[in-house]
Symmetry: D2
Subunit: 318 residues, 4 copies
């Protein structure tokens, strides 16, 4: 694939929006991660100047109670080796999506029946297609670019509360890009710092406890415009410090598909890697201080056969 | 710490060998990972030339039955979101040490009572010292250097079976280093490819099934010479494709401490990061083909509070 | 203990209500289960006439999503013995309180600080006092007596919806007892059939899905009168087909203690065994048909060292 | 089924021995548990004289390391309700077969391909046939009869070590029955006390640690005679204090089928419930003291859909 078509050149999808399937082959399971070519990795590695690495994963158990009450937090047992000279350990109840994570292309479909590039729910249950181990084998590394939303909102003179629903449209994303001083390059990994992560860290216990019953967060606007913008930027991945990348709540009803819940477009149609609940606050502070909003991002997804999601295991080097 | 002392300059330890404690401060929990400074990371990143990344983790469940029968393999559940449009997943029985992993400085002590830098077993149970989350926060990245043992043995004209106990002494390690054409630099991450990983992959089911009852593998010689060699190379970490880095079986009896089981020296005295069960075969093949035995190694240890070990989550870029 | 004092003869408790501590010794961990003496077991066994056993446990996974969103349902793996001639299995995420269960005397305290008979939270964490294994060793068997609330409400000409909050006071319990034609005997195990179990079974998916966010159920009235009534009946245990035995929601605020949430009285002060989410519908139908409301109840609590709760593992023989 | 045929009247099975299939219907999943009719339960309940109950389950974690190294012991987490007034708990890694348990008819087949009454491995994986929940719904209760092997061996003047392989043939079983003074009745639950349980309890740590690598235990002889004897006694179930009921090691090779490993006959052909690792020492002591070797046995198997095994959850009342 020498050059990706523009969004409006893509064929229309049967359930609305345009369809990004088939660009990397009929059996492709990797989606836009295919854009992370050796040439782009080598180019991105040149962004390592100071040698400072920012770990982008939150510790296990950071979100308590879990934001999605159908999930739980990891349980840890430290084991003394019987008669032995040391310790072992084991974890149970590890929901990758309860912490810093990648949604694989098996997580959400373009529709309820069909996933990225035509995979079926049965393909996914069987671990045959779209699962996260494909990305683990391929690797996810490239140029990471940070968009700093709280700083942008200040710049724009807007009130902004990262604990509320705020829809970030093309105007806001462009303003953030301009503030960062970067141009997009094909294969970029976009990091959207909304401030939700540090808002949560500082929230009082009663707010954290009530949150799962009324989830709200800033994020991508539910619109075709935002989808077009991200596609045309030809980013490989978008990660954010919220639980959904897109603004929440979404509208998952049939009537509003596919833009009511743009996971369906970004994952299901585009094959884009979405990262959620990443820790971006320290990186954002460094970007603001240094004026450098790009770096070499390396993630080592878990080698999890049939996995729906993976820990982010991500570091950005500047 | 401008420059580390030589091994023979270290103070003698009360249980034998020399003691590498206190060099990074009395309360230090990170050990030789402290050597991975921004300057060294920036230098190592320059080794990314082709942009090719080698994932150094094996898939979950690779070793079945588990090599250590006190551990098990991860169990996976794929969950259909009820009434929903996608999938979630959850893992149980995740023993980091059953797959590609880092031993933290909480894994094995210098003696049964005391761990790296004077931490106690109680400190470790309580998650107060030496646990793997310290490395996750600091990050593990630097120059990776591969020693290719099967190639070295062929060069030396020796019979060699990676399914048997073979003690690799200073002579063998030096021969491997010479074959690789590299000099050690302070903070290197040494990757010892013994061939055990691919031997296991190709072993018939009955051999795999019997292995846990009579574990054997090539690895570091049980000697002070090897400890001195590694210390004086000032490597930060040593990872291998075997389950113990050192030759197995070790001799954990009191009489042979601390060189019967050199985990006690490498982890407990030196504070060295040991990586086990890494997948090095593909990387070794590439090194042989290209003649380049070094690269930029990035690992993102799991943000596991109180963790004894972590998945390797490691990639080497060349 | 020849004869238990009446409720009004008990000493007043420092946080309200009367205190049932010390009647079976200062170090007693079993509470009213002590009333299940061999003589009473032998007497109750004579109630087995037809030889029909009613299993009182619901299947794993009956309540989905779990009624308490901090819990989950068991996860099951069937394992083919490698190269073997059969199957093994393993369960994870087994929350005893997500299904038919006994609350031990370690579950809820008389106050936040102190549990039945003066045990502390630290005693319970350490598994030293009040945990469910005491009952497993002692055994729980005796005369089971069913109170049929829906039938009683019909008899009383009252509207009744087992999916709503209905407070069952002394009048309702006495009416149910009269309908059943039984007198209480010391050591009885009272089974309160509210109809919640079959209401849940028949509820549409959307009602089940919404229930955890607004839990309601019929059950014991939040009053001292009901506590006095149960104590004076000298029952050893009360089990019901709801998740709380008492009407829900309770009021757990300080101001309403200890009768806003009578778990604090029944468990924390009386040392009474509470059974929750039992399956009583089939038994109730048989009682209505035969006019016999009593039987020999046998439960084998799990031998779970330090356990807070146990599966009911209960059968009633008639 | 008025009366079961004798063993020699059963049709020969295609892999040797005789086949007990079809006696309770072509689709039957319960096997000899069908013999536990209300009439027999009512009769057995009359054996409750003193009202003393013997719990027949060992505590979680009794066998450490697990006897079968492919299994593990349960892991327990006590959870403080956040901001709350009590505790909850959860268990992971619960292998029913690591403790006191029932093997269901899904555990071992008559051959590798076919299970009791013609069920296939696929039926079992899918939870369609022979799984333990059928017994949970039916209930397991009846007359329990104890055979005391150590006492019998003393009576016979034989050396006997319950930590060694000892094959118990018809002569030994008959001698034990005579010592107990009981006659078998159809539907009995036979309890074979070999002394293994207390031998293990008293074994030093190094013996326990080595045991999984060389499992040995007394138990049923590997012979058609023993199968014929048990069938003709028309017992519904046989439980023992060892891990296999039959003497160990068995011979699972094709050449010795089906009597080298009589699980294949007892479970796969007869549909007999086998109980393993039950705690029989206290009961045996009471039998010896009182001369009464029978009682009312009640087990409440776990309501585990698709379960291969279940905790015993068993009590014998005398």
């Amino acid at each position: 694939m020498n050059r990706l078509p523009d969004y409006d050149q893509l064929p229309p999808g049967p359930h609305g929006g345009r369809l990004g399937w088939g660009l990397f082959g009929a059996g492709d399971d990797l989606g836009l991660v295919n854009l992370l070519t050796p040439e782009r990795v080598a180019e991105a590695a040149k962004l390592v100047r100071r040698g400072v690495g920012f770990s982008l994963d939150v510790p296990h158990g950071t979100f308590a109670p879990p934001l999605n009450s159908a999930r739980g937090n990891p349980r840890h047992h430290v084991i003394a080796q019987p008669g032995g000279i040391g310790f072992d350990d084991v974890w149970d109840n590890v929901y990758p999506q309860a912490g810093s994570q990648w949604d694989s292309l098996a997580h959400i479909g373009y529709t309820r029946e069909v996933y990225y590039n035509g995979a079926t729910a049965e393909d996914i249950r069987a671990g045959r297609r779209n699962t996260v181990d494909g990305w683990a084998r391929h690797g996810i590394a490239g140029r990471g670019v940070l968009l700093d939303i709280p700083a942008t909102m200040r710049e724009l003179g807007r009130d902004y509360d990262p604990g509320e629903t705020v829809e970030l449209g093309v105007a806001e994303l462009e303003a953030a890009r301009e503030l960062s001083g970067v141009d997009y390059r094909t294969g970029d990994i976009l990091l959207i710092h909304t401030g939700f992560g540090s808002w949560y860290r500082d929230a009082p216990p009663e707010v954290r406890k009530a949150l799962p019953r009324g989830l709200r967060a800033p994020g991508l606007e539910h619109s075709e415009d935002v989808c077009r913008y991200l596609w045309n930027a030809h980013v490989a991945a978008v990660a954010s410090d919220t639980f959904a990348v897109e603004a929440w709540p979404a509208d998952t009803s049939e009537a509003r598909q596919p833009f009511g819940f743009i996971h369906q477009m970004l994952i299901g149609s585009f094959g884009m890697a979405l990262g959620e609940l990443w820790w971006l606050a320290d990186l954002a502070a460094d970007c603001a201080e240094t004026g450098v909003y790009e770096g070499f991002l390396v993630s080592a997804p878990t080698q999890a056969p049939g996995g729906i999601a993976s820990a982010a295991n991500a570091v950005l080097f500047k």
